[in-house]
Subunit: 106 residues, 2 copies
DNA sequence: CCTTTTCATCGTAAATCGACGATGAACGAT
DNA sequence: ATCGTTCATCGTCGATTTACGATGAAAAGG
């Protein structure tokens, strides 16, 4: 995954409200904007929630299918699994010890 | 992990430069600000790199130990493993199907 | 003491984000 | 045709982020 796309996904997760939205969507399939708005502990305007959902959709973390008069949001599980793996990869990336400046050259 | 702390960690990862920094720190233990600055593809001022490193430290993703005249940065592997797990948890959180509005009530 | 190296902090300017209310689109129901 | 519901989009404003150069601290070496 290219670095910029990765950054976009993390940016989508970088707001507490969006994390809550994601959790709710994970737990409740096919929920709509109004459903999810009602469950938030911090009360926000509908337009604000819609914006947050849009950020999550554009980052590819959730999907939206319109089903009038509702928008049905669902988790993109593959994206989240991939993201989790990308984070995990960072912990296994160390090169052989001698290439690290244990004894700096300066 | 509380939602706000989680958001802070994701925010630290939400910038491409910081992802690159993290990757380099993961691959090269004990590197300093100047080391890591030289490896970036986008050339940035030293003060800017120092700021980015500070964000990563404050999010708990890396550690900094001063060893004059260097600052030695290292990965906080536990934090990254935990973060990876937090992302993964989202994909396993679905409630029983009947609680989801497959057939919306209104 | 003076210099050098490495790095952090400060102030600032441009850009982006987060929240809101207002508005309007889409479509089912009356 | 007119509502009523759900939702997205727009414009705006304050707050935050990102980048920079300038400055200064800390210690080692001359």
């Amino acid at each position: 995954m290219p670095t910029d796309a990765l950054a976009t996904r993390f940016a989508a997760l970088s707001h507490p409200v969006r994390i809550e939205l994601l959790r709710h969507i994970a737990a409740h399939k096919n929920c709509g904007c109004k459903d999810v708005m009602a469950k938030l502990d911090t009360r926000l305007a509908q337009s604000t929630v819609s914006q947050h959902l849009k950020v999550l959709v554009e980052a590819g973390l959730i999907t939206c299918t319109i089903e009038h008069p509702h928008s049905r949001y669902n988790l993109n599980e593959a994206a989240l699994v991939g993201l989790s793996a990308s984070v995990n990869d960072l912990t296994e990336a160390c090169c052989p010890a001698r290439c690290c400046p244990q004894n700096p050259k300066d």
